[in-house]
């Protein structure tokens, strides 16, 4: 079941690599949030405990409801255009993603010979980190950089579930809080930039200097 969810996660990463729309990024973030919530609830199906509810519930509220809504609100308020404005062609980007997938799966299979890891969730998490970094590098819009950062964070989360079956709950909640605060800070920064400066193209942001 963990493998099935991880494969769906990989498919959502491929979709991120081809879609040209900002709305689709938000939808994929929401979808990944749902996948991670189900993934966290899996070990607790047999024995119920209060911790089984707290972390998935927090994750669900933050990743599926609050953050996507907040990003949508920013998009609406700042009147951001619908396309993502890539710096390289989407075709090359997808090729890059495919090659990184191949390398990551190879690395994961080599690693699994010496340490105890679940290959598919491990590789999917790793791949999400790579795709998140690629999104940040190859997209011009600032709001997409926020989305790329969130994909990266989802990857780290998945990575964590692959390495240890049960995560230390306080650490996870701490990470979630961090991400939440960072997204808010980015939103506020975007608002600030928009009030003094037109457009969010990172290639012309250097004009902002004193």
């Amino acid at each position: 079941m963990q493998n099935v969810l991880s494969i769906l996660f990989c498919l959502s990463l491929f979709y991120l690599a081809v879609t040209p729309r900002v709305k689709a990024y938000v939808a994929v973030l929401r979808f990944q949030g749902i996948l991670l919530t189900i993934l966290l609830m899996l070990p607790f199906i047999e024995q119920f405990s209060i911790f089984a509810v707290i972390l998935p519930a927090t994750l669900f509220i933050i990743k599926v409801i609050v953050i996507p809504r907040y990003i949508n609100k920013i998009i609406l308020e700042l009147d951001i255009k619908r396309t993502i404005e890539p710096t390289i062609q989407q075709f090359n980007f997808l090729l890059l993603v495919i090659f990184s997938f191949i390398i990551i799966f190879l690395a994961a299979s080599i690693l699994s010979q010496s340490t105890e890891i679940e290959i598919i969730p491990f590789a999917s998490g790793f791949a999400a980190v790579a795709v998140g970094i690629f999104i940040i590098i190859f997209r011009k819009k600032l709001i997409i950089h926020v989305a790329g950062f969130l994909v990266l964070e989802n990857g780290i989360f998945l990575f964590g579930t692959a390495v240890a079956s049960e995560l230390p709950i306080m650490i996870e909640i701490g990470v979630l809080l961090d991400v939440f605060v960072v997204v808010f800070l980015m939103g506020i920064a975007l608002n600030r930039i928009s009030s003094t400066f037109e457009g969010f193209d990172v290639t012309i942001l250097r004009r902002l200097k004193d």
Binding site: N3, I7, V18, L94, I98, F101, F105
Partner: protein, 308 residues
């Protein structure tokens, strides 16, 4: 026993050849209903084929013998590919180890002659359509080999019939592979048969057409052969996808037929829905769409290779 198997194979082939226009009619009817029209009868493709048979065949002055033989070779190659597909539990007419490669290249041969005939006519429109068809075929071929190839790896067989028979739906990882593969086979079907997100079958502007523009100068029996083979091709891909969902573990002939019919009706509804809600992509966006399907196939293969 031998005779019964051959008879079953012949019946399967006749079913595929006979029912393929009906499937197109079904899709068109549902498309009409979704867009609020009454729509033509389900049997309309048969009437159109009958009309074409009566018409006179005219070839362009500049065309050579290629134009006269290409439609027939096209139809025969597609029919030979159709003879390799199992319907329900019957063994197909042509079935041997490694026939998935023959299957792919029979369809490739059909496409090759169609492209050749289009260039043979000597009109710039046909040449443009041929160039597009060839370009997108380059991207569509890896989809087939990565998708069906990964299923072949998982099952350990290289014959279409054996591959489908080794599918067990009680194995959860098999279910995932099937779902993932059926997405990319759907994209493959849409591309190869020039359906909506890649090509608009109803467009009347030569600059935007892919498949239709190649047969623009054909008439009469030639056009009949091209149209009929395109209907069969669509049905072949639909069966390729529908076969994933047979409960082969059950091994009952009547149940197989019922499930086959239900899955095909569901697929026609899905195809009509996709064609209703999407518009045609820009030409430059089509390679991303096809590479996405290839990526799914590669993912399947990676997962299989590194988790065994």
């Amino acid at each position: 026993m031998e005779v019964v198997q051959i008879l079953q194979g012949i019946i399967s082939l006749i079913l595929i050849l006979g029912l393929s226009p009906l499937f197109v009619g079904l899709v068109n009817k549902q498309k009409a209903i979704y867009t609020g029209r009454a729509g033509a009868s389900i049997l309309q493709p048969y009437y159109e084929l009958k009309k074409l048979m009566k018409k006179e065949t005219i070839n362009a002055n500049s065309s050579s013998f290629i134009s006269t033989i290409a439609p027939l070779i096209n139809l025969i190659a597609v029919a030979a590919a159709a003879a390799m597909l199992p319907i329900s539990f019957a063994r197909p007419l042509i079935s041997f180890e490694g026939d998935i490669i023959l299957f792919a290249y029979m369809l490739g041969l059909a496409r090759f002659f169609q492209v050749l005939a289009a260039m043979d006519i000597g009109s710039s429109f046909e040449g443009m359509g041929a160039a597009r068809e060839a370009t997108f075929a380059v991207f569509a071929e890896p989809i087939f080999f990565f998708t069906i190839g990964s299923i072949a790896f998982i099952s350990g067989f290289t014959s279409i019939y054996d591959i489908y028979h080794s599918i067990r739906l009680d194995n959860i990882s098999f279910v995932v592979f099937i779902i993932v593969c059926s997405i990319s086979v759907f994209i493959l079907a849409v591309t190869e048969c020039s359906r909506m997100p890649v090509d608009d079958p109803n467009t009347h502007l030569e600059l935007t057409m892919i498949h239709e523009v190649m047969i623009l100068d054909n008439s009469g029996i030639d056009l009949f052969l091209y149209q009929y083979s395109s209907y069969i091709k669509l049905f072949i891909y639909v069966i390729l996808e529908a076969s994933f969902f047979y409960p082969f573990a059950v091994q009952s002939y009547t149940l197989g037929i019922i499930i086959f019919v239900v899955v095909i009706i569901i697929l026609s509804a899905a195809l009509a829905a996709v064609e209703t809600v999407t518009s045609r992509f820009k030409m430059k966006n089509i390679p991303h769409y096809l590479l996405f399907a290839t990526a799914i196939g590669i993912l399947n293969l990676l997962i299989y290779t590194f988790t065994k």
